[in-house]
Amino acid sequence: MQRIRSFFKTFSDRYLSTSGQVTRIIFFAVIALLLVVGSFAGFYWYDRFYSPQQSVEQITVAQAEQAVQADPTNLKTRLVLAETYLVYGRYEDALSHATQVFTEDPSLQGSWLVMGVASYFIGKPADAITPLTNYVDAFKDEEMPALDKRLQEASYYLGLSYLDLKQPDKAILPLEQTVGWSQLDADAMYKLGLAYAGVKRYEDAVNMYAKAISFVPNFAEAYQAMADAYDLGGKPELGDYARGMLAYSKKDYPAALKLLLKSAKAFPDYAPIFAGLGLTYEAQNDLVNAKASFETAVTLDPNNYTAKRGIERVVALLNK
């Protein structure tokens, strides 16, 4: 004990007797603390979150690039590389390689698809029209177009290219084909609605938006477009319904309720309004009103799926 005390006294006299000495020791202590904390933080991050693994994208692109390097004259491997670039959003590279393939062998139809889609994403929809039209024409009469995702992709981007070129009349056919082949594609339905609205076929547009919304109930853009179509089509009260659902999709429930109630007053026989009211009440945990609204919707339209599912949920929660 005496020794320890003596040690501390000596240490204190030698290193801690003046504020200058203490400041120096503090400096070293701060350095040591930073080193320990920094090492711990680094080790913690490395141990828990660091992964030397390459991403799927890196591995896939590297494999496709190696295949082309191994045999630069093989157009099929080059086309695979172009498709890989397209999948991972490297549109310029995709277009460059697909164009090379097309120049060497225009009969390789995959290059048409890559050129068209890449051109669309680069912002050159005019360049996308010819290759995509050729691709769609080549495959649209095959036995089962509904199973051909590439055909659907070509047709969809052909429609979008026409929409970007402000030619909604020409966009309608490819988008109708897409919706016909891929009957669950809510995006294609929405775009087809825009094309219809572009040629003032507002009723068709509203139907298409409604179809898209039935698959994606929170499809904010579709609600907005529907509201616009109702307004332009001379039915602003139903526009309130669409705006109410837009507010619902944005979780602004008080605004949604206000607009939907107004719309319900104007159209007391329109089931979707009451289904929307039910959803809004449910979101606000007003289960009694939600149940009543869903039931009204089902009375008006016994096939309203949203309302039927809503009743099941609300009843279960009420019986909890």
Binding site: L16, S17, T18, S19, V22, T23, I25, I26, A29, V30, A32, L33, V36, V37, S39, F40, F43, Y44, D47, R48, F49, Y50, S51, Q53, S55, V56, E57, L279, E282, A283, R309, G310, R313, A316, L317, N319, K320
Partner: protein
């Protein structure tokens, strides 16, 4: 050589001088000294604080190296709520992973496949494939591994849905036994129905097509015995609680239920398997009923939580198996679409793999009422995204393993 001058000085007598006597009173410190002393004391306090911090961080570092865990688990402060884990990496090379489990030392990962060769694959912590195995007497066409769990003793339990058995393996995949009915193991069945003594290396298994138990001594011919009547046995989900009790979901028509096998019945000789199991639940949509329950987990208070698959909810039961309530049901982002695998962490945070919602939903069940905490993961095929996640497990270091079925991989996240 000497220096005469120095010699003279050394030898010269020192004159006696009467030094003035110092008075025995301390001289008061000057204001400058006082200020200096005050400053020194403050700096000493700062130094003391820094040294304490240094010690604490050093101890923390050492503690982490010895037993890795999330910092929120190590630092003794109030638990931080609502921080979801971070995506780390994935393990590929699994075909339709259905179940995922971790060894007690967190060094081995067991994955059951529902497609391809339908194997159980074992990976190390870095994702390197160590070995694979499958239930004896099966081929890829007549086995269907589903959920998997590792007991406190390191034994691996595999729910095999084609033959309706729970296969038991050692940590290296050597087959030990199988639970072939609510109160029957293969070894017990053979011990009671046959005079044959199972020698090491014997092959034995239950075959659901012929409803027979087969056994074959090394070098001998296979023999079959009519298996037990199994009207009430169709196991699916498997989990162990912290006491080592095995909790399974049993999907007999009209009787979707939870069975709890006490730890003691699994520790002793399985050829004497006569468990005093507990059961609760029936099939249906009402409160206290199940529709394809997948996983059962327990909180610290001993309450049970069942992922009630086709009812789209979590069913909560008290520790004495009385139905309490349900939660996670509805149409918002905080609710479940198709809850499958479940895991309870050491903070009573319930993690649910929502297969159709393609997300992991986390609820805090430590309070009086279950509270939604956060989701992590969302639908997609790129890294860090989920596509029909069906099972989840956490290890002691805070790593989260997700069986991402349709992406054919195990996703690793970390708290």
């Amino acid at each position: 050589m000497t220096t005469p001058e120095l010699d003279e000085i050394d030898t010269a007598p020192t004159p006696e001088i009467d030094a003035p006597q110092t008075p025995d009173i301390e001289t008061p410190p000057t204001p400058g000294q006082e200020e200096e002393e005050k400053k020194r004391r403050v700096l000493l306090l700062v130094l003391l604080f820094l040294l304490l911090c240094l010690c604490a961080s050093g101890c923390l570092f050492l503690r982490y190296i010895l037993k890795p865990a999330p910092i929120t688990d190590i630092v003794p402060v109030a638990p931080v709520q609502g921080i979801p884990p971070t995506y780390v990496k994935m393990i590929t090379g699994v075909d339709g992973p259905m179940g995922v489990a971790v060894s007690p030392d967190a060094q081995r990962l067991y994955v059951s496949e529902s497609n391809g060769d339908r194997l159980v694959k074992v990976f190390d912590r870095d994702g390197k494939l160590l070995l694979s195995f499958f239930p004896p007497g099966t081929t890829k066409t007549n086995r269907n591994p589903t959920y998997i769990a590792v007991g406190p003793d390191g034994r691996v339990y595999l729910s095999e849905h084609y033959n309706h058995v729970i296969d038991i393996f050692d940590a290296d995949g050597n087959f030990l036994d199988a639970i072939i009915d609510r109160d029957m193991t293969l070894t017990r069945f053979l011990a009671t129905k046959s005079s044959t003594i199972l020698v090491p290396g014997s092959l034995f298994y239950y075959d659901n097509i012929s409803k027979q138990v087969f056994y074959q001594a090394p070098g001998g011919n296979p023999r079959g015995l009519p298996g037990p009547e199994r009207a009430e046995w169709n196991p699916l989900g498997l989990r162990f609680d912290t006491e080592g009790n095995l909790m399974i979901t049993n999907l007999v028509a009209g009787k979707h239920e939870v069975l709890i096998f006490p730890a003691a019945s699994l520790k002793k000789d399985l050829s004497k398997f006569t468990p005093k199991f507990q059961e609760f639940g029936t099939e249906g949509k009402e409160n206290g009923q199940f529709a394809f329950p997948n996983s059962v987990v327990r909180d610290k208070k001993g309450n049970y939580y069942v992922s009630d698959g086709n009812n789209g909810r979590i069913s909560a039961w008290s520790s004495d198996r009385i139905y309490q309530s349900f939660f996670g049901f509805g149409s918002s982002e905080q609710t479940l679409n198709l809850p499958r695998g479940a895991w309870m962490d050491n903070k009573d945070h319930l993690h649910i793999a929502d297969a159709v919602g393609s997300a992991i939903r986390v609820y805090d069940v430590s309070g009086a009422e279950p509270a939604f905490l956060y989701n992590f993961g969302e639908f997609g095929v790129s890294e860090g995204y989920l596509n029909f996640p069906v099972d989840i497990t956490l290890d002691s270091t805070g790593r989260v393993y997700i069986a991402d079925r349709e992406n054919n991989r195990i996703d690793i996240w970390s708290y």
